[in-house]
Subunit: 133 residues, 6 copies
Amino acid sequence: MSREERYARGLEVMRRIDTGEVREAVTSVADVSPELAHQIIAWAYGEMLARPVLAPRDRQLVTLGMLAALGGCEPQLELHVGASLNAGLSPEEVVEALLQSAVYCGMPRALNAAAVARKVFAARGIAAPDPAC
Amino acid sequence: MSREERYARGLEVMRRIDTGEVREAVTSVADVSPELAHQIIAWAYGEMLARPVLAPRDRQLVTLGMLAALGGCEPQLELHVGASLNAGLSPEEVVEALLQSAVYCGMPRALNAAAVARKVFAARGIAAPDPAC
Amino acid sequence: MSREERYARGLEVMRRIDTGEVREAVTSVADVSPELAHQIIAWAYGEMLARPVLAPRDRQLVTLGMLAALGGCEPQLELHVGASLNAGLSPEEVVEALLQSAVYCGMPRALNAAAVARKVFAARGIAAPDPAC
Amino acid sequence: MSREERYARGLEVMRRIDTGEVREAVTSVADVSPELAHQIIAWAYGEMLARPVLAPRDRQLVTLGMLAALGGCEPQLELHVGASLNAGLSPEEVVEALLQSAVYCGMPRALNAAAVARKVFAARGIAAPDPAC
Amino acid sequence: MSREERYARGLEVMRRIDTGEVREAVTSVADVSPELAHQIIAWAYGEMLARPVLAPRDRQLVTLGMLAALGGCEPQLELHVGASLNAGLSPEEVVEALLQSAVYCGMPRALNAAAVARKVFAARGIAAPDPAC
Amino acid sequence: MSREERYARGLEVMRRIDTGEVREAVTSVADVSPELAHQIIAWAYGEMLARPVLAPRDRQLVTLGMLAALGGCEPQLELHVGASLNAGLSPEEVVEALLQSAVYCGMPRALNAAAVARKVFAARGIAAPDPAC
């Protein structure tokens, strides 16, 4: 495949879970770091995240874990909370995955992750999860 | 619930995904840090990981992501690669979840995680995944 | 103890070092992640931080070290600089604890921590420490 | 050398790569953490970064790597993107060094670093690098 | 003060909490990185950790927090568990400080820190803390 | 380019700085994670690190900074200390780059990095740098 074909495939894979925000964030750095924007789309989405072994929903569970653990990646976590909902995880499942970081990463990381989810849910008009959960 | 009841519930939850290694690792520090051993079992497993919103298999996907991202948690990742298999993830799915850290955490973390999976698979006599994956 | 009793004990423990900001930050995520808010108060404060082996002042020294080292936890560090003052550490002692991160975590983390302390001191009308320190 | 002499030497070393922003950021915490401000200038610049074994340009390559990897140090990375240009690295070289974090630290850290470079370049009126690079 | 005088002061400060292991670890890299060994003793101990604002015992509480949070610094944590005991913290206080990382850094970091304490206590013939703590 | 062609280009790029150890480390996980091994060679080396904007020597300076900062990546740092020497950095320059992590990442990371350099130098029979440096 040519560079352009790989980029096109990446956009296609990205569209399975992205309604535009991920693409916007990536292309926002394209003027300064064109190769990074290309590689995120062509390689990260086009090659790595396109692989069939894990469904997009499953991949999002892994990604939510990684971004919560890394810390300082709130911009990306914001995008991936949205992508997770697009991939079919319910808001309660997203909240639960991030809650799990309280066990593995501690309360500060868990709080910062929850704050990101709160921001995304508010923007999408998603009602608070059932507190009985 | 009393402290002892919560501990018992934690052991019960842990047994859904643990064939003994997680318990052994936790109790190995019990002589020096008895409260930590208690809390991992009674709180982490008994309260947090027992919650029904995510199935054990899904929880393991999140955990694999977090442990790969944290770095320096190879002892815990070793236990959780095993727990993931016990929870119903296939070896290919475990490898794929850890491979995803190449995108979100970089090649060094991904390599260290793959080395841990390799060690666990060898110990369990699991044949190498189909390279066509 | 019931869930409500543990939550009440957590609030009580939190009040030893919190004049409201910690509680506000925690409950701000309660609509989206009610379990996280519950666990921080009921478990983190009610069980773990309530333990008598270390005085609140000593606990705050440990916490300042951890939050400075983690990085990306400025929201929590802001709360804990305040909690540290409430627990009886002087402004000079708080600044000194954060200064120590220059040795163990490097100048960037130390600078970011100092900036947080500066923000809290300004908000509380605390005069600059004696430069002879 | 006295404390004052070491501080003066540090300012001198800092001026090789700083047009004022680094000094401003450091002295901005001097009212609250005077010793930190002193040590960054007198020790970090005056002793450590003054050493001749690596040229300032080479030191900046190492620093860009470290700040991108640490995460959560965007304020310092912003200063050091500027310092790197002052030290003689071209905008393309700075972008390339940060792009390399995609391989070693993952896409989130790389994106956050690229966003910082973008901000600095815009402030300095630096045109976008040649996308053919 | 000359370089040699600062180094001597550093050794003196180090001896308040070190019975030889810290010095040995630092000087073990002196053949390859002589300046690092010099700076840890002359600057870290001689200038920074010598400051009177916090007592050695208090400094150790901060350090235990930082090293547990950083992860991957088990060699240094091992030294500082010992230094903490030398500085007057009891084994129960050391264990409690590290236990606190379960709240702020998560269970993996807390477990790894507890394992380090266990190793040091065993080497020093320190009996297990009273489980009633 | 086909997958095989990109892999071949990656091996070629890797050989500029690798005398076999990097390749061995990567292919050691190939049985369990064949895609990771492929991507490190075909993508990391074949696409990203092959880019001409920075010379291999310059790229190694960035990599040494990132690996020292990440922590817990001693296996990769060991390989890259060797690759840095192969790329034309002198032992003194490698030591100096790692020493710089004392400023930006703190003494623990700096010590762990120096210990790795020491191990590689000993294995290669490299004499200790001139302590006057």
